[in-house]
């Protein structure tokens, strides 16, 4: 499949994920690109982060990404016609201290790709809010929970384990707050 300048972040991420899966590389889409996927593009990141499970040689990654026209520049893969780049942050696949992560398969035409579930993607963004007080991540976690079914029991239990129940309560408050709409000047 050829990628072009008009390809959305989700399209790029899922196409890369599908090629990796077809090559037998277990790589899970995480971070902002995964959140973008679950919110229908409400947030656009600059990169697609994949966490690889198991040992993979760099040559195998080079070859898989090369199939789509990506070239490695240092520790990231760039494409001449795509504005997003692909990175492989170091594993293991974890959300805070939780290592028991069960990715889900998504197929939107390019083949099945592994991504974080909406619940885990929501937790992934909440982790940034809990640890860095990053309110952009909080807003994104709220967007995911509004757009997708998420398991609040799982999120609450994990928040307790992270010692962040107060921040979880803030997340719930944001979730029940009416959506902010931009006021148009006339």
């Amino acid at each position: 499949m050829k990628l072009n300048t008009r390809a959305s972040l989700s399209t790029v991420a899922l196409t890369v994920g599908a090629v990796l899966r077809r090559r037998g590389i277990t790589a899970v889409l995480t971070g902002g690109a995964c959140a973008s996927l679950h919110t229908g593009g409400a947030y656009v990141s600059n990169d697609a982060d994949f966490v690889v499970r198991g040992a993979v040689r760099q040559a195998a990654l080079d070859s898989a990404l090369g199939e789509l026209g990506f070239e490695r520049q240092g520790d990231r893969y760039v494409h001449p016609r795509v504005s997003f780049y692909v990175e492989f942050p170091p594993g293991p696949l974890a959300i805070g201290s939780d290592l028991d992560i069960h990715p889900v398969e998504v197929d939107r035409g390019a083949g099945p790709a592994l991504v974080l579930s909406p619940t885990d993607s929501c937790r992934d963004r909440l982790a940034a809010f809990y640890h860095w007080r990053d309110r952009q991540s909080l807003r994104l976690a709220v967007s995911i929970a509004r757009a997708q079914p998420v398991d609040f029991k799982v999120i609450e239990k994990w928040s307790r384990a992270e010692g962040s129940l107060e921040a979880y309560a803030e997340f719930l408050r944001e979730l029940t707050r009416p959506k902010r709409t931009r006021v148009r000047r006339v």
């Binding site: 942050p89 201290s97 640890h131």
Partner: protein
């Protein structure tokens, strides 16, 4: 092979000592760590960027300075902190340096 007098379980002396220092200080920046560990800033910066790529530390820009801390989102943060605290117990020289460092605030304009 060079004689090794100090254990460096995190790959190199600068990496290990920078991690131990961050565990003791909470957060720091290359120049402060360089003074504390009496090592060149370039060596400390290299060590910190390597540790950042391994997700053990996280850095953020404060003004023009990149401030580092142990990565709070690292999956084994608690275990890492316990281990680093134990390593700190054994590094009496580093402990003494850290204890001599003034980090509490000083009101603007107050004479030194």
């Amino acid at each position: 092979m060079a004689v090794k007098t100090v254990s460096s379980p995190f790959g190199g002396k600068a990496r290990t000592r920078a991690l131990v220092a961050l565990a003791l200080l909470g957060s720091s920046f290359p120049r402060e760590l360089s003074r504390l560990l009496t090592a060149p800033v370039s060596a400390i910066s290299r060590a910190l960027y390597g540790l950042e790529r391994d997700a053990l530390v996280a850095g953020r820009l404060v003004g023009r300075t990149r401030v580092f801390m142990l990565n709070p989102a690292y999956f084994a943060k608690r275990e890492l902190q316990v281990y680093l605290a134990r390593l700190a117990d054994a590094d009496t020289e580093l402990l003494a340096h850290v204890e001599s460092l003034r980090r509490r605030p000083r009101r603007s304009g107050k004479p030194l």
